[in-house]
């Protein structure tokens, strides 16, 4: 097994980044596609394995049209969102329906635009499968999570008249608990299916990626994550509760809550809460980082170890939660104290950590791979996905 290496450094990337920022500003955003290409090229080009590097091939010109269309759609969305609550619900609905298409187009485009050692990647997953994975499963999951328990809580008392019989009040918690379990299982299943869809559809030249994942394993990771979250959040809630009770007391808290109802008087009353809100906010960020890092590193290791290229090239992840948490927290502080201008260093540190904890078995070599002929892809889907913040990647 050999480790991937990242050869970029913060100060070099800072110069590229700041020139990008300036040109995007001076061109009123029109330079953005070219800036994006330069960013991608920098990170891909500096990632190497065995002396061979990755490459990003899209050009600014290629992205431009898709970018303009995405911006127009985004502006329409923002305007609708501000003037009509019903309109924005409709737009969100349309977006929900469009997500599988966006994911599919993005995968096709971005993998095709990526090469390693002069050989392009590709994606062969179908649109139909994308709809099953990114529309059907999330829908079932959401149903189990919200509609089933809420619907039953509302509908059952209505059916049985005004006074609810006692057996019903016993059965309701059971139903809610059951739907929670279904939702939990659906979430694990969804994770597994989505990851499999993306990985099994990925090609490297003529080579085929294959992954064999089990829902049970995902469920176990999720269960541990959930346990960890409950523990941490419970601890924080207790801590903050104790601090609030000890310093300002319950009465003035109620009073503040009441005062908040009037928008004009709010700023005058809330002052004494500042330090507590601040601490609570910081604690929540810290907690979410710990939870995200834990869940992500476990999933990453599991998925990498069960993925192969042509059944012979294997992968592994040596990323652990602790260093990841450290980089996340120190990056956040770094970015905050520099008002965002340390972002390039933060990004390079994070990439370095990720890349250098990725292992590939290179004993078979890559010399047999050649680029397959592929159709032209438009960047439209990828650009829209980018504008509306549709998360396409696996998150690792």
């Amino acid at each position: 097994m050999e480790t991937l290496e990242f050869e970029g450094n913060g100060s070099e990337y800072f110069k590229i980044w700041i020139v990008n920022v300036l040109l995007v500003i001076l061109t009123a955003g029109l330079y953005y596609p070219w800036a994006k290409v330069r960013n991608h090229r920098y990170f891909y080009g500096n990632t190497t394995l065995d002396g061979r590097n990755f490459e990003y091939h899209a050009t600014g010109k290629q992205l431009f049209l898709g970018y303009i269309i995405a911006m127009v759609l985004f502006i329409i969305y923002i305007v609708i969102q501000q003037i009509s609550p019903i309109g924005s619900l409709i737009v969100l609905g349309v977006l929900f329906i469009a997500i599988p298409w966006l994911v599919w187009r993005s995968l096709k485009f971005s993998l095709k635009m990526t090469s390693f050692s002069n050989v392009h990647f590709g994606f062969t997953g179908t649109l139909k499968q994308s709809y099953i994975n990114f529309f059907l499963y999330p829908l079932v999951f959401l149903c189990a999570l919200y509609i089933l328990p809420i619907g039953l809580t509302v509908a059952l008392p209505m059916l049985s008249g005004v006074d609810t019989p006692s057996w019903l009040s016993l059965i309701l918690p059971v139903i809610i608990l059951l739907s929670m379990i279904v939702a939990f299982y659906m979430f694990a299943l969804m994770k597994k299916k989505n990851t499999s869809y993306i990985l099994n559809g990925t090609r490297y030249g003529q080579g085929v990626f294959e992954t064999t994942l089990e829902t049970k394993k995902f469920a176990m990771i999720l269960l541990r994550t959930l346990g960890l979250s409950v523990l941490i959040l419970g601890f924080i809630a207790l801590l903050i509760g104790a601090v609030v009770y000890g310093t300002i007391g319950l009465e003035s808290l109620m009073e503040m809550q009441n005062a908040m109802k009037d928008p004009q008087s709010m700023p005058e009353n809330i002052g004494s809460l500042i330090p507590i809100i601040f601490t609570a906010y910081a604690a929540m960020i810290l907690a979410s980082m710990v939870i995200i890092a834990y869940s992500m590193t476990r999933q990453r290791s599991y998925v990498y170890e069960h993925t192969t290229l042509d059944d012979k090239i294997t992968f592994a992840s040596s990323l652990e939660a602790r260093p990841l948490i450290w980089v996340m927290i120190s990056n956040l502080l770094l970015v905050i104290v520099t008002f965002g201008f340390a972002y390039p260093w933060a990004k390079v540190r994070m990439t370095k950590l990720m890349v250098e904890n990725t292992l590939v078995d290179t004993s078979y070599g890559f010399d047999d791979y050649i680029t397959e002929r592929q159709e032209e892809e438009s960047s439209l889907g990828e650009q829209i996905g980018d504008a509306f913040d549709v998360d396409v990647g696996l998150g690792f």
Binding site: V19, I25, Y42, I75, I78, N258, G271, Y343
Partner: protein, 371 residues
């Protein structure tokens, strides 16, 4: 000149070591480790753009690829190609240019949010046809009736009196835009046991007065002051401006956050809240100004505005004190988050206008003190 690197056949992952000889100004030959030699003219080579120090890619006529780490040497080869990229690379590689870009970026961003967005929004808002105001206000009152307001408890006689006075005495003061049709609405707005005194204007010219506000007004001048303030919002098309400003900010946020991770989102989110609040405060001050200048012209003492503002503040604070032990505080720490300017500052400006009024002036130069 000789460059060392790797050679790939077209589309192949396999590579061999290779040396690129630049023979003269026109010809090159590429010598592979296997002994094979490829040659041709320099102009047939496609030399990739430079970016930092990532391996440089040179594509040959037969689509095979030569990559080399010797970026500086390659640069001397391609002086004649792609001026724009050479320019961008020069910016990127020199620290002083990068620092200049940093300063320029900070300055333009500051200028964009302080002057660009408000000015641009104002310009667009006033360039749009009158109908756009009707369109955005279309269902707003119905919506507010559903979620916020209850039917008014005021008696019909009182409402008619206010409406007639508004038509006869306040409306004629508006000379800026005669096309707007103003309508007064009366509603009750209660949260818990607190009846909220407030006045709101919709871009269509519908002005909503809450019951508590009408009850708190002791003189006609006080009500006129607030009505003029609301008319100021309508005349200056503040709702449209807010929508356009919001769009500017959202698009800017999207570009700043770009394809970065959730990390940057938080800071940018806080920033956009502060920026939006600052735009909203500017609108309030503008509406205040509209009210004050028109009051001077109509011979109404602007002090009425400060009287009614103070009475509303006192009412709310008193209401809260009777329910709980409430400590009045002059907390200015949250002013940056507030959608309205600091009440004390607004009252101070009203009083300055009132001094002008007492001197019999019809215009007034005021000094706005920073806290």
């Amino acid at each position: 000149m000789v460059l060392e690197g790797q050679w790939h056949a077209a589309g192949a992952a396999a590579s061999t070591k290779a040396k690129l000889h630049i023979i003269d100004k026109v010809h090159y030959s590429l010598e592979l480790e296997t002994g094979k030699v490829l040659s041709g003219t320099l102009s047939s080579l496609h030399i990739g753009d430079r970016l930092g120090n990532i391996a440089r890619k040179i594509t040959l006529e037969d689509a095979s690829v030569f990559t080399t780490k010797e970026n500086d040497a390659v640069d001397t080869l391609c002086k004649h190609t792609s001026k724009i990229n050479t320019f961008i690379h020069t910016l990127e590689s020199k620290l002083k240019w990068a620092l200049m870009a940093l300063v320029l970026s900070i300055f333009t961003m500051f200028a964009f949010f302080t002057w660009g967005v408000p000015w641009g929004s104002k310009y667009i808002a006033h360039a749009l046809p009158e109908e756009s105001n009707q369109i955005i206000a279309q269902h707003t009152l119905d919506f507010l009736d559903k979620i916020l307001f209850k039917k008014t408890q005021l008696d019909k006689l009182q409402m008619d009196k206010i409406r007639t006075h508004f038509q006869k005495n306040v409306l004629p003061l508006n000379k800026e835009n005669q096309k707007i049709r103003y309508t007064l609405h009366f509603r009750d707005w209660s949260e818990g046991n607190l009846s909220i005194p407030n006045a709101l204007a919709l871009p269509s010219g519908d002005i909503i007065l809450t019951d508590k506000f009408v009850q708190l007004c002791k003189t006609q001048a006080e009500m006129d002051a607030v009505l003029l303030h609301e008319m100021g919002h309508v005349v200056h098309r503040h709702t449209l401006e807010m929508i356009i400003e919001g769009t500017f900010v959202s698009v800017a946020v999207m570009l700043i956050v770009g394809d970065s991770d959730g990390l940057a989102d938080m800071g940018v989110g806080l920033g956009s809240v502060l920026v939006s609040a600052s735009y909203s405060r500017d609108h309030e001050s503008e509406a205040d100004m509209y009210a004050f200048t028109h009051m001077l012209k109509a011979n109404i003492d602007p002090v009425s505005f400060s009287t009614i503002m103070q009475r509303m503040t006192v009412y709310i604070e008193k209401k809260l004190t009777t329910n709980y032990q409430h400590k009045t505080s002059d907390d200015t720490r949250f002013d940056y988050f507030s959608s309205h300017p600091n009440t004390a500052t607004r009252i101070e400006i009203a009083n300055q206008f009132s001094n002008c009024y007492k001197k019999g002036l019809s215009t007034c130069n005021i000094r706005i003190k920073e806290k």
